[in-house]
């Protein structure tokens, strides 16, 4: 009797948790939108949505790369430093024009990604430690290259930061295109399947003959390149290169977006739509608190609560 009474309740709870993990983030976004439309003055305007989207675009782009790393049961703490490095290199090479500067940024980011990937895949350092080294070292290099903030006046860079196509800012277009691309790679390509297989069970993937090391290298290179794109866009928007503070704590925002979006830290599964929604959720949360002039510490507390809820929901599934 007692058993029969407990069983359905337990099942129910598991189902609720599973629902929360898959759809909780969308429900959260919906709730915040409804609440803000109801109580925040001037919230329901094209200008406001544009601002929120433009501000969240770099976070989304970084989070996409983070989702790939987390999908392999890894993590990349160096993304904020790569943003700073991208800012420095952009400023240093802008004299040749925007395109050469961006290509140089890509080379630098790729080198950082290769270093991360090599440490993880070949040396066998745990991702959190390997990328921690570059999180410190990367910002160090950025500051050696450009010791202080520098104003930039390149018109092409400025229009990248504030221009638009058909009324949609470049930042949003680029973030959306990259999200679609990463989702496609995960779902429809061999590389995507191999990535998930490695995250699911690296030993088994190796035994099955998958190119584990090559895939891991590519994942960390992709993650660094995405972070560099975000760094360039943030720099373009600010029209100044600020390696001291650009990308500070970005790794935490990105990890939060990924985890809140329903991608488990245990690897083997990546939810790109959820990741985008996770970044949007945090953006809306921050915007709500700022717009209502609540103490800044509340934002951190609110974020912490969201993370705890997400992790609690994820516990329902866990790794098999």
């Amino acid at each position: 009797m007692a058993e029969a009474a407990i069983r359905p309740a337990a099942l129910d709870r598991a189902r609720v948790l599973q629902w929360m993990q898959t759809y909780g983030v969308y429900a959260g976004v919906a709730v915040l939108l409804v609440v803000n439309i109801a109580v925040t003055p001037h919230f329901l305007s094209a200008e406001n949505f544009r601002t929120q989207a433009v501000q969240v675009a770099p976070v989304i782009i970084v989070a996409l790369g983070m989702a790939l790393a987390i999908g392999t049961e890894g993590i990349d703490l160096s993304v904020g430093a790569v943003m700073a490095l991208a800012a420095s290199v952009t400023a240093l090479y802008l004299g040749y024009g925007l395109v050469p500067a961006l290509l140089t940024v890509a080379v630098f980011a790729a080198v950082v990604g290769l270093a991360n990937g090599a440490l993880v895949a070949w040396v066998g350092v745990q991702p959190i430690v390997a990328t921690l080294a570059l999180m410190v070292g990367g910002r160090g290099i950025a500051l050696v290259l450009l010791p202080q903030l520098k104003d930039l006046h390149n018109p092409a860079l400025a229009s990248l930061g504030s221009g638009d196509v058909l009324g949609i800012p470049y930042l949003i277009v680029i973030a959306a295109a990259l999200a679609l691309l990463v989702a496609f790679v995960i779902r429809r390509t061999t590389f995507g399947r191999q990535l998930l297989a490695i995250g699911d069970n690296r030993a088994a993937a190796k035994l099955a003959g998958l190119p584990v090391r090559r895939v891991l290298m590519l994942v960390y290179v992709a993650c660094a390149l995405l972070a560099a794109v975000a760094g360039v866009l943030a720099t373009a928007r600010l029209q100044a290169s600020d390696p001291t503070s650009l990308g500070n704590l970005m790794e935490l925002s990105a990890i939060t977006a990924v985890v809140v979006g329903g991608t488990p830290l245990s690897g083997g599964r990546v939810n790109i739509a959820g990741t985008v929604a996770g970044a949007v959720l945090i953006q809306l949360l921050t915007a709500t608190l700022i717009k209502h002039d609540l103490p800044p510490s509340w934002t951190q507390i609110a974020q912490a609560i969201v993370i705890v809820l997400a992790v609690y929901a994820a516990r329902g599934r866990g790794k098999r």
Partner: protein, 365 residues
């Protein structure tokens, strides 16, 4: 993030070092940044007349002599001075501060030892101990924190090494643990920013504050001064919004973007440093506002912000003068000659507005 800086994985270190060296070499070898020779006017020449002035000490304020402090007279020319900087020279204030100390030391022809704590208090403590061990006869310290100085001061007191702190006071006994401190009055900076805001807005309407980093005494004092003065002199001016911009330009931009959408009627923004103020300018430009639509008042006095006044985007800048060199060495010189020096040396900071921005931009740092 700063607390991670000292942790590096052993395996990773050689790779990172090699990588760093390779990247730094490649990048500096063929870099070509935008031409900004026009912006780089000779700051050392113009800085000459931008030195710090002391507020006349209040009657009754205490002094300190070498007999009261202990130690022996010496000739500053033959002395070794140790300078401990708190933060990386990555912002205009710290760059100008360190440059000023170095310039004054070489002008006086004395030996200067320098150390930088890179924003880690534990490193600053060991920096100071190192400077003492290397034979510093005198110390100039830009403290990262006000508290926690006992171990260092004990070591210095045992050697009878005179200490002058600059830009921030340390919580210890003046003329016993250290000789004197030289700093700006941050509360007064806030008050003077409020005066400029009242003038720019006509003393009516809603204004916002972009706060500095949380838990920083500069933030607390600049906020207090501003709000007190507004309350006292312009009760019709309401502070309706105060959010942190962490003293960083990008954060200032993001917060201002939220602000101007939720409170489109905002008349003024008080930014507690120039960088956040310039972030606010970027946000206003991005939202299609015109120069002067929203009055911006900032604190620091960097070249970019003063240029902002010339361009019409910023209404006023209160200076926080970082050029401590001349005053710090003058204080040490007077003290080591056996004469009395004041325990609290408060600097008189200048200010910039539409009237003097163009002519005085050379004084900006």
């Amino acid at each position: 993030m700063k607390h991670f800086t000292h942790r590096r994985h052993l395996t990773a270190r050689p790779v990172i070092v090699a990588l760093a060296a390779a990247m730094a070499l490649t990048a500096s070898g063929c870099a070509k940044s935008e031409d900004d020779a026009a912006n780089k006017s000779d700051s050392s020449a113009s800085a000459a007349d931008a030195g710090q002035k002391v507020v006349t000490p209040k009657p009754g304020s205490k002094g300190c002599t070498i007999d009261a402090y202990g130690g022996k007279k010496l000739d500053l020319k033959n002395a070794t001075v140790g300078f401990s900087q708190s933060e990386k020279e990555a912002n205009p204030f710290r760059i100008a501060e360190t440059a000023s100390i170095k310039a004054e030391a070489s002008k006086r022809g004395l030996k200067l030892l320098t150390a930088n704590a890179q924003s880690q208090f534990s490193k600053q403590i060991s920096d100071v101990q190192d400077l003492l061990a290397k034979g510093a006869d005198l110390l100039v310290i830009a403290p990262l924190n006000s508290d926690g100085w006992e171990p260092v001061l004990k070591a210095a007191a045992a050697k009878k090494v005179p200490i002058v702190t600059i830009d921030r006071k340390i919580n210890a006994a003046a003329c016993k643990d250290y000789v004197s401190f030289i700093a700006s009055d941050f509360v007064d900076q806030g008050k003077r920013a409020a005066d400029q805001m009242i003038e720019a807005t006509g003393g009516k309407g809603e204004v916002a504050i972009l706060l500095g980093a949380a838990g920083n005494n500069v933030t607390t004092e600049r906020t207090k001064g501003f709000k007190d003065r507004i309350k006292e002199k312009a009760p019709d001016l309401k502070v309706v919004f105060q959010q942190t911009g962490d003293f960083a330009r990008e954060k200032g931009q993001q917060v201002t973007e939220q602000l101007i959408q939720s409170k489109p009627g905002i008349k003024g923004i008080y930014a507690e440093n120039d960088e956040m103020g310039l972030g606010a300018v970027a946000a206003l430009k991005g939202a299609g506002k015109k120069a002067g639509d929203v009055k911006i008042v900032t604190v620091d006095g960097t070249r970019n912000a003063v240029q902002g006044i010339v361009d019409g985007w910023i209404s006023g800048v209160i200076e926080s003068n970082p050029r401590f060199g001349p005053l710090a060495f003058q204080t040490l010189d007077t003290f080591t000659q056996g004469k009395e020096v004041p325990q609290d040396v408060i600097i008189q900071d200048g200010s910039y507005d539409a009237k003097n921005a163009k002519s005085d931009i050379g004084k900006a740092f």
